[in-house]
């Protein structure tokens, strides 16, 4: 309850300020104007179109980049010589800001989904690879011994021991990558790609409709929040054994 006091009073203050001064600005809008705009773009379907474009790109990029990252993390985790071989290439490519690849990717794919997905995939690949590698490396060595003593084959060891043991941290990697995917999607749309929420944001700005701009910002935040909440709920469901252990302890 207390957490609401400051945001709500700020909103009331902003509304009061806007009404008293009667601002007619190209860059600001009153909370009530923003809410009206939010309602309008929800009704006329433009929000849904743009949001689904952004989400489609973000989730595809997450799936491709995260999937590749996960695969490489497991392979490198289980084959240490390969990990040593790829150490420097990985360290060289990882610091490249994903947005910096935009011009190159644009030359390859042109405007549209493919270039946006490629940039998002590049951005999502790294956190999953790096966290994933340390997740595999951090598996309790006793469990690997158990799998050897029980006589599990390599495939059984990977699927019955390594992946489930690393799963909580792998999931964390995907949650981080999901946040990154949305950021990069909107950024790519603002910078270049004429689609999605980022593009709509720029369109609202250049047509001097600040209330629409802020309404879209509101929705971007809402989508990011829901995506994280969804993944958190999934995490709780999947790893109920950990919670159960805590309750009984």
């Amino acid at each position: 309850m207390k957490g609401w006091i400051i945001p709500v009073s700020l909103l009331i203050l902003a509304e009061a300020f806007a009404r008293i001064h009667g601002i007619a600005s190209d860059s600001l809008a009153s909370p009530s104007q923003i809410l009206v705009a939010a309602w309008e773009i929800l009704l006329d379907g433009s929000l849904l179109t743009r949001a689904s474009q952004t989400l489609l790109a973000a989730l595809s990029g997450l799936a491709i980049g995260g999937g590749l990252g996960l695969f490489l993390a497991v392979v490198l985790g289980l084959v240490p010589p390969l990990a040593r071989l790829l150490r420097y290439p990985i360290e060289a490519f990882r610091p490249i800001p994903s947005i910096a690849t935009l011009p190159i990717v644009l030359m390859i794919y042109g405007f549209g989904y493919r270039m946006e997905i490629a940039v998002i995939a590049f951005a999502c690949f790294w956190p999953v690879l790096i966290i994933g590698q340390s997740a595999i490396a951090g598996i309790e060595p006793r469990l690997i011994e158990v799998s050897r003593v029980l006589g599990l084959n390599f495939f059984g060891r990977a699927t019955k021991i390594a992946l489930p043991a690393a799963m909580p941290r792998l999931f964390l990697a995907f949650r981080q990558a999901a946040a990154v995917s949305l950021i990069v999607a909107v950024t790519a749309e603002i910078a270049m790609n004429p689609q999605g929420l980022g593009f709509e944001l720029m369109a609202a700005q250049s047509s001097l409709r600040p209330q629409v701009m802020f309404a879209i910002l509101l929705y971007v935040g809402l989508i990011g929040w829901s995506l994280n909440a969804l993944l958190l709920a999934l995490q709780r469901r999947l790893f109920s054994f950990a919670a159960a252990a805590k309750v009984s302890a």
Binding site: E140, R142, L143, E145, V146, S147, R148, V149, L150, G151, L152, G156, K160, I161, P164, A165, M167, F239, F241, A242, A244, A245, K246, S248, A249
Partner: protein, 268 residues
């Protein structure tokens, strides 16, 4: 059941027909000699305990027998063949049950893992799992996760998983070291019963001298730094053993005295 004479017969044959044998085994780890010229044998159907201070290579000895380690020199044989990798009918019970159990699998799921590794078909697993959980008294807890079980129950669960391997040899690495005295005594008797009823050979590592005498047919004492066999004590106490009366037998007390004296003498 006639288990006792049957076991006695096997024991006398034990020396002649070892199931696992180490011959002049030496092992170095991280530039340190852990084991030096260790020669010992586990007879078929025999229950051997290994005692010794920390740093005497007890755990390393077990890992060699389990095929998790290879010796630098000398040989480890199982049924007369050199051990190169873990055999699926040699089971190893770890002391740290919290680390050895899969926390994301229920009790039944943990037992199932051993059956899956053996390639038991899905339809055949359930009855075997329930049977094994009943053997260790965990029937009521089949669907609980390890984190929801007490320490004693978790160790029972690990024992059930090892039994699911259908082992000919049970290797145990201080399995009850982390448990309280009452739980420990209960589990000692359970292990003796399980071993007696299945005819499994057992090698039991412990630092508790009384536990070693109570359980074993023989007690092997090791020297530390580097680990080597110091002395072998024949136990020869009657079976089945009983927590109260066995521990009061003059032969038990005499052995206890001998072992304690031995350890004191070699403390430094």
């Amino acid at each position: 059941m006639g288990v006792a004479p049957f076991r006695a017969k096997l024991r006398s044959a034990g020396a002649a027909e070892p199931i696992i044998a180490l011959s002049e085994v030496s092992l170095w780890l991280g530039g340190r000699e852990i084991l030096q010229d260790v020669t010992l044998a586990l007879g078929r159907g025999e229950f051997v305990c290994v005692v010794g201070p920390s740093g005497c290579g007890k755990t390393t000895l077990l890992r060699l027998m389990a095929g998790l380690l290879r010796p630098d020199s000398g040989s480890v044989t199982y049924n007369g063949r050199p051990v190169t990798a873990p055999a699926n009918d040699v089971a190893l019970i770890f002391q740290d049950y919290t680390k050895a159990l899969l926390p994301w699998r229920s009790a039944a799921g943990n037992v199932s893992l051993a059956l899956e590794a053996r390639g038991v078909r899905k339809a055949d697993r359930r009855p075997q799992i329930l049977d094994l959980l009943e053997k260790v008294g965990l029937t009521q807890h089949a669907d609980k996760f390890p984190g929801q079980l007490s320490g004693g129950m978790q160790q029972r669960l690990q024992i059930a998983r090892c039994l699911a391997q259908g082992p000919s040899v049970l290797l145990m690495d201080e399995p009850f070291g982390a448990l309280d005295a009452m739980t420990r005594q209960g589990l000692q008797d359970e292990v003796l019963n399980l071993v007696a009823s299945s005819g499994t050979s057992a090698l039991f590592v412990t630092h508790d001298l009384e536990e070693a005498i109570y359980l074993g047919d023989r007690v092997i004492a090791l020297h530390p730094n580097p680990g080597r066999v110091a002395q072998v004590f024949e136990v020869g106490l009657p079976r089945p053993r009983d927590q109260l009366s066995t521990r009061e037998l003059p032969a038990f007390l005499k052995l206890r005295r001998a072992l304690f004296d031995f350890v004191q003498e070699h403390e430094h």
